[in-house]
Amino acid sequence: MSLYGEAIPVNVITGFLGSGKTTLLQGLLAAPDLRDCAVLVNELGEVGLDHQLLDHVAESTLLLENGCLCCAMRGDLQGALRDLFDRRERGELPPFRRVVIETSGLADPVPIAFTILSEPVIQHHFRLSNIVATIDAVNWAAQSARHPQWAKQAAVADRLVVTKTDLAEAGALAGLDAELARLNAAAPRLSADSARLDPDALLRDDGHDPAARLAEAGRLAAHQAPLAETARHGHGESIHSFALVHDGPLDWTAFGVWMTMLLHRHGDRVLRIKGLLNVAGETSPVLINGVQHIVHPPRHLAAWPDDSRASRIVFITDGLEEARLRASLATFNALTAPATPHAMPAQPAL
């Protein structure tokens, strides 16, 4: 909870042009439990949204001093979220309990995440719940070949919703599944055509909820082995995911030094990190979650999801190698290791 009461969760729905973002949103808003959402739409498409709290925002980006594109503040969103909150506080809007932002089809979702997590006022009243990406099962191959934004949207998502599966050929679906596993192995892949697409699983099931955290940890734990590195060329084809596994406890201070330095130098190539950490001095694991240069506050998990006590960090990177990252982290972590005792005689067992 923030100093100003419970922070309002914000979901970002992204996806390429024509991939079914608005249709998905329309279906979700029909769910009784999600009727108290405010919706911000970045572009008004052909599918009409009939919702009581619908606002349209024009796209404008304020580039911050450091010049990094992922750390750009979305000025339109900043104004829209502040305005929504002010009107809610004044009683001009019903007390909505969630905000859903539908991005434009070509938008980079990362500056939106940065704005919610970093804007001085917004970060006290709102929290980033998750990023959902819709993926067009029919046109994905052509879109991914021509537009690097397609891979970026899929790589930074927490949930992938595959649309038009009933229209796609089996071969295209299998190819898409393999492509999404390469780009973002840790994100659950759901079918929009399923009659039982659960709004809870999609929007509410985020790291804020302890039960959802455990499910997230289970997914991370499942990615213990580094995925095969594949040599590819073309838009988004050097993007791949792998799990960095570190045995033994990590010193939290050393980890913070290492990760901030890595994100400073290579943040534009680290699209996503999600990790389950064995932190020295803590019995239970700590979850971390980051998008490019932006890292969410760490979260505590009540229990380990399996018998392993290794730290497991799933990286989605553009061209970084797992072995180099693993060796670097181990070197930084060793800076805090106690000096090896020299010539200490073995103590007899009592």
């Binding site: 450091n66 970093s118 001085p120 006022v121 970060q123 006290h124 939290w252 201070t253 050393a254 913070g256 030094v257 290492w258 990760m259 901030t260 330095m261 890595l262 994100l263 400073h264 130098r265 290579h266 932190v279 001095g281 803590e282 019995t283 700590v286 979850l287 240069h293 890292v295 969410h296 506050p297 760490p298 979260r299 505590h300 970084l320 180099r324 990252l325 060796a327 670097s328 070197t331 930084f332 060793a334 800076l335 805090t336 290791a337 000096a339």
Partner: protein
């Protein structure tokens, strides 16, 4: 709220366990915030020494980064530190740099 600019203060940095006590129930109660900040500055020394820089914790609020020629920058957190270090030295701070890693490995072996 910052008295100079009137902007609401941000949350503590994600690397600070004291700013995220829910995530570190055991560590947050056992390690005072100031001690953690001093430990962080100490841990950065061998990395910054490789770049000819030193770091000191300053009043529980910031860190002072100094170059060998006496140029100084004040930084709030680790995310600001590396950009400031690069400004002072004109060299990239890269945790994957083999020379840096070899230097750190020697430090850890001592």
């Amino acid at each position: 709220m910052c008295s100079l600019c009137g902007v609401l203060g941000g949350r503590g940095h994600w690397t600070e366990s004291a700013a995220n006590p829910d995530a570190f129930p055991e560590r947050a109660t056992g390690v005072p915030r100031r001690a953690e900040r001093q430990a962080r500055a100490r841990l950065c020394q061998p990395i910054l020494r490789h770049h000819g820089l030193t770091l000191a914790e300053w009043g529980g609020q910031a860190y002072i980064l100094k170059s060998a020629t006496g140029r100084t920058e004040l930084v709030d957190n680790l995310s600001e530190l590396w950009a400031a270090a690069e400004r002072l030295t004109g060299r990239p701070c890269d945790p994957l740099d083999e020379d840096l890693l070899a230097s750190l490995a020697r430090t850890a072996d001592r």
